[in-house]
């Protein structure tokens, strides 16, 4: 292999070949990802309604978002409340189901498939399905409540229940996280459980001191991805409530969409998109920082000890 990589690094010809090979991806990235991002950043300082020329507005879109747009803060509030109602419960439910499906029970593959299925169904189909489930007139939820003498609320039509309804619905798709938990659970060495048993650990102790630390990288991963997905929540609110009633489900992304595609205020929508980017970035950084305190990487520990 005369052309193999030497200690001085690849030759110019090899480097050229490498760049040529990745050029389709690079072109795609520049044209379809980096380019639009840069354009949207530039647009965020302008007023642009698509059919008229772009007008420079400086930082007014950003100042207006924070100090002039009451729905900006409403959408922030809705999104954070939803995150509180759905993110941690979603992680807990996903883990609980994974723990159950990690047991030796009959028809295990079928159960796993059933729990995972909602995660792969189209968002709009799920939204329409849940509109039926939560329908106050003929929905199965209110029917079940009526069996125990409870008159169910209006769910999506009630400003007090609309957001909890969407959070409740989000638990249905906990199967996505469940699959990752399952993979992690099956990677926990059985020797650790055996050793814990020898030391007298009961089931709770084995979960608390063996299982959770060993799968904490997957919990961390699900937390980060769940946080990002929560702050980009859109489809269900768009299809089921349109942000109502009385803006009770006006998620940040829905507010952004309204400005972009209903009011044709592309500049302001671009500014909202960059604010969202910063919010997600900051939250992700906080989670990453906190991970040193609670995420256990077996490889890191071994490397440290060696």
């Amino acid at each position: 292999m005369a052309n193999s990589v030497t200690a001085r690094g690849p030759s110019r010809r090899e480097a050229f070949t490498a760049y040529a090979l990745i050029s389709p991806w690079l072109v795609g990235f520049v044209v379809f990802t980096a380019g639009p991002m840069i354009v949207s950043l530039a647009l965020s300082f302008t007023e642009y309604n698509v059919v008229s020329p772009v007008v420079w507005r400086g930082t007014s879109n950003y100042t207006n978002a924070f100090f002039g747009d009451p729905l900006f803060w409403q959408s922030i509030k809705v999104t954070f409340v939803y995150a509180a109602l759905s993110l941690i419960p979603g992680l807990v439910v996903g883990l609980a189901v994974a723990l159950l499906l990690n047991l030796s029970i009959p028809w295990l593959s079928v159960w796993r498939a059933i729990y995972y299925l909602p995660s792969v169904i189209s968002g709009v189909a799920v939204a329409v399905l849940w509109q039926y489930v939560l329908n106050p007139r003929f929905g199965i939820v209110n029917w079940a409540l009526s069996l125990v003498g409870i008159k169910g609320p209006g769910w999506l039509a009630d400003p007090n229940w609309a957001l909890p309804s969407l959070a409740l619905m989000s638990l249905w798709a906990a199967g996505g996280a469940m699959v990752l938990y399952l993979a992690a659970l099956q990677g926990v060495p059985t020797a650790l459980y055996d050793a814990a048993k020898v030391d007298g650990a009961n089931a709770y102790h084995r979960l608390r001191f063996v299982t959770l630390p060993m799968i904490s990288p997957v919990i961390f991963f699900n937390l980060v991805m769940g946080t990002i997905a929560t702050f980009q929540y859109f489809t269900n609110a768009y299809v089921m409530t349109g942000g109502g009633p009385n803006n009770a489900t006006l998620f940040y992304n829905l507010h952004l969409y309204n400005h972009a595609f209903r009011y044709f205020r592309m500049g302001y929508a671009a500014a909202l998109a960059w604010v969202l980017f910063v919010i997600i970035l900051l939250l992700t950084l906080v989670i990453f920082r906190s991970s040193t305190a609670w995420v256990y990487y077996e490889g890191q520990l071994k490397a440290g000890r060696s």
Binding site: P24, A157, G244, N246
Partner: protein, 476 residues
């Protein structure tokens, strides 16, 4: 080594082909049409005709009004086929876009330099929203001495904004009181009058009537002691589900303006007439129990077609959904408000010509042909609209009578004398945001979150005036 070089060369060639392919894919599909000169004077507005030998294609964009249902497409496509077969040197092509995507599609086509020629059917809202892209057709009307006298006194005004005629009304959807005759018969209540402007027909009389029609599970009316609103099964009246706008309705309560100043700098959303009109809605839901709340609507779906609603104030387009109703219905006149005025809110569909289209003459010729009585009648029958031409009324009633033999269709035409001018959808800066804010306030009333119209409209006023102030601050 040679093989290796050949392989590398081939790899580079493949990469170059892929690169070229990506660039080709990103290139514009066609050369954009050159925009016409700015609208304004007749000379500038009327573009030169297409060069001889070419057959310009006039694309009619459908999506911002009605017209996208399969049976409607069939009628519109047949009109296009007739025109195209007539030997004209212009071709018609219909483009159908789902309503929810229509504005984005339209704006994208404009931005891409490939504008459609005509937007039809298109409501009043679009005239204001995309006014910079609409052609002033006044010079064409003048050039061809086009006679609009058949359109009545009020209707041509709807296509105007700021003194400029952007479009001609092709179909109108005035509102009436639809009523369920079976429910009236069961309650032994007289039907609403069909006579517009009848002396004793006002909103108080209608409330009294609607209360007798509103029933609970024990068949008690909402006017009687012991009525249980938690167990309500039937409602006397509704206007919310039709989406009627307060700036039209409040005119019956004495509103002196559309809700804003003429210069669009000040909003009057908490003016007394609006507060009183919205309080009437609140009372209708929470005091008289004649209108369903949001929760009741979600739980019982008491639309007019459900048979649980006595009276529904709504536009003529609702008739399109009534072909297979299992009860007898008819149409009555809208009552007068406390100010003694009758207002029948009217939706409108017309055509707009895009001023950036390359061959404006061709677009105008097509639009003019569509305005002719035969074409207009066929379009109106499929849109569920009333023809704005007075000369078409008789033929229209004849056609519709076969579908609805027991309905007094004259009530719809009589309502044209009471339509809202300016139209409730007329231009307002930041239109979408402002009306969304109003509807969010209306949600508070309809859900029972707040029952005082004054409180709601004070909040709405603060919000919407903020939008407008920001708009003008940016403009300056």
């Amino acid at each position: 080594m040679v093989e290796a070089r050949m392989t590398r060369r081939r790899v580079l060639q493949c990469a170059a082909i892929a690169f070229g392919g990506a660039l080709t894919a990103c290139a514009p599909a066609a050369t954009p049409a050159a925009p016409s000169e700015a609208a304004g004077s007749p000379e500038a507005t009327i573009a030169p005709a297409a060069a001889a030998g070419e057959r310009p294609v006039v694309t009619i964009f459908v999506g911002m009004g009605t017209g996208t249902a399969p049976e409607q497409q069939e009628v519109q496509d047949s009109l296009a086929a007739e025109w195209n077969a007539s030997g004209s040197d212009i071709a018609i092509e219909y483009m159908y876009v789902p309503h929810d995507e229509s504005r984005t599609k339209w704006a994208t086509m404009m931005a891409a330099g490939t504008p459609p020629a005509i937007n039809m059917p298109s409501g009043v809202e679009q005239t204001g929203r995309f006014q910079d892209t609409n052609l002033d057709i006044g010079p064409y009307l003048e050039r061809d001495q086009y006679d609009l006298s058949d359109f009545g006194d009020l209707i041509p005004e709807i296509g105007k904004y700021g003194g400029i005629t952007y479009g001609v009304v092709m179909g109108v959807y005035p509102s009436v009181l639809y009523y369920n005759e079976d429910l009236f018969d069961q309650a032994e209540v007289d039907y609403p009058t069909h006579e517009w402007g009848a002396s004793d027909w006002d909103y108080d009389a209608m409330v009294e009537m609607a209360q007798k029609l509103s029933r609970d599970g024990s068949d008690r009316s909402s006017a009687t002691e012991g009525f249980d609103p938690e167990d309500q099964t039937q409602w006397g009246y509704d206007e919310i589900q039709c989406g009627l706008l307060i700036n039209a309705l409040a005119q019956s309560w004495g509103a002196e303006n559309m809700g804003w100043s003429d210069d669009f700098r000040t909003l009057y959303f908490n003016q007394p007439a609006w507060v009183e009109r919205l309080q009437w809605v609140s009372d209708a839901i929470w005091k008289w129990y004649i209108m369903p709340s949001a929760q009741q609507t979600a739980a019982a779906a008491p639309g007019f077609d459900s048979g649980k609603l006595g009276i529904d104030q709504c536009h003529s387009w609702m008739m399109g959904e009534f072909a297979e109703l299992e009860f007898h219905w008819n149409a009555g006149a809208i009552p007068a408000g406390p100010a003694g005025k009758i207002v029948a809110q009217c939706d409108v569909d017309g055509f707009l010509i895009c001023n950036q289209f390359a061959d404006l003459d061709a677009a105008w010729e097509v639009a003019k042909w569509m305005m002719e009585p035969d074409q207009m009648l066929r379009l109106n029958l499929t849109w569920g609209a009333l023809p704005p031409r007075a000369s078409l009324q008789e033929r229209y009633i004849e056609e519709m009578s076969s579908k609805f033999p027991n309905v007094d269709l004259q009530v719809f035409f009589d309502s044209l004398g009471y339509i809202d001018i300016p139209n409730q959808e007329t231009y307002l800066p930041r239109y979408g945001e402002i009306w969304d804010a109003f509807y969010a306030g209306l949600d508070r009333i309809v859900t029972g979150d707040e029952k005082s119209a004054q409180v709601v409209l004070d909040d709405v006023q603060a919000t919407v005036q903020g939008y407008l102030d920001e708009h003008w601050a940016q403009q300056s």
